[in-house]
Amino acid sequence: MAQLVSTIALSHAPGLTGWLDKAPKEEQDSLVNGFSELGRILRDTRPDVIIGVANDHVLNLEFQNTPDFCVGTSDKWEGPAEWFKDWVAVPHYEVAGNKQVADTLVNAAGREGIRFAFRDKLLFDDNWSVPLYYLTPDYDIPLVPIHMNCVVPPLPQPEYCYRVGQTIAKIVRDELPDDMRVAFMATGGLSHDPGGPKYFDVDEKFDRWFLGLLEEGDPEKVLREATIDKMVAAGDGGTSELLAWLVTMGAVGDRPAKTVCYEPAVELRCGMGCVYWDMS
């Protein structure tokens, strides 16, 4: 049995790399320090692979056939995708994948009644490019990316996302190679509204409420209270990316989250923060 050594969740919005200098100095410092600290926490657990889950910004998952979740089965990834290069503004990078882990996730989840789509080509935008830049600047930990649908109706429900996380944790435990050390990472959120009237706003109140809720470590309460409706109300176009955070919560159960940093970064057009769960 493999071991889940690290579970984290963090924002990925492109302002963090693309125009960070436009934010107030103290916000910049708080976010850079916080994300760097999260990187140390992650790397200190010496993961052999990161299973990541993040919103697909309608870049890979077609309207014609949007799956809830799509697992990347390649042994090699790169980013950012061409059209997003100057927007995200991080250098081109390559990072290994892990086809064996990805294939196992697909087939084992299917046996549990969870359908994962899969493919060996995925374009990366800010969803992985921004987190990896801060967390693993050497791009030396293989990534199994899971792109999920957070923004094309109908969305996967919070309960289902939680169950998916539980299932991934079970597969890690029961099906991945012995002694493999696995990190689980969600990226996305917090409040933002790309494509809506609140594009230039951040809902700090919602964000602090949501982080506080995760800190309580009560999944039932989270699932009862952190509804899609509430996410959409806090920023229609993007806040529901927090569904990815609920996936990771399914893997940690009733452990309380610990918030590393949070800033209502209006100049970056996104509530930005990161958390981890102590898996020791």
Partner: protein
């Protein structure tokens, strides 16, 4: 509007989806939007909204919200996309100010 009102079968949505994935297509679109809009079978209403860069209208027709700021970036560039950038300002004039006027 909003994500829940996305018209998934709208030709504009397929066109924008593919524009960001295919740089050759994107560059052809930048040179002349007409043949690309024709190729994807956009209605006259959709076409006119693109010609006018009428992002609000595209929103009303059911273009996915996520694509709306991207459309302003298709026309005005993505680099250094801060709130005072041209792309963000075009979006603001279309969607935020427009929304205020109606609200």
């Amino acid at each position: 509007m909003g994500i829940m009102n996305t018209n998934r079968t709208l030709p504009s949505n397929l066109m924008v989806f593919e524009l960001r994935r295919d740089l050759t297509l994107f560059q052809r679109f930048r040179q002349n939007i007409e043949p690309i809009m024709e190729m994807y079978g956009l209605s006259e209403e959709e076409k006119q909204a693109f010609r006018d860069e009428n992002i609000k209208k595209l929103s009303e027709l059911g273009v996915h919200p996520y694509f709306l700021p991207q459309i302003s970036r298709i026309f005005h560039g993505s680099a250094y996309n801060h709130n005072n950038s041209e792309a963000a300002q075009v979006y603001a004039r279309n969607m935020v100010d427009g929304a205020d006027q109606e609200g």
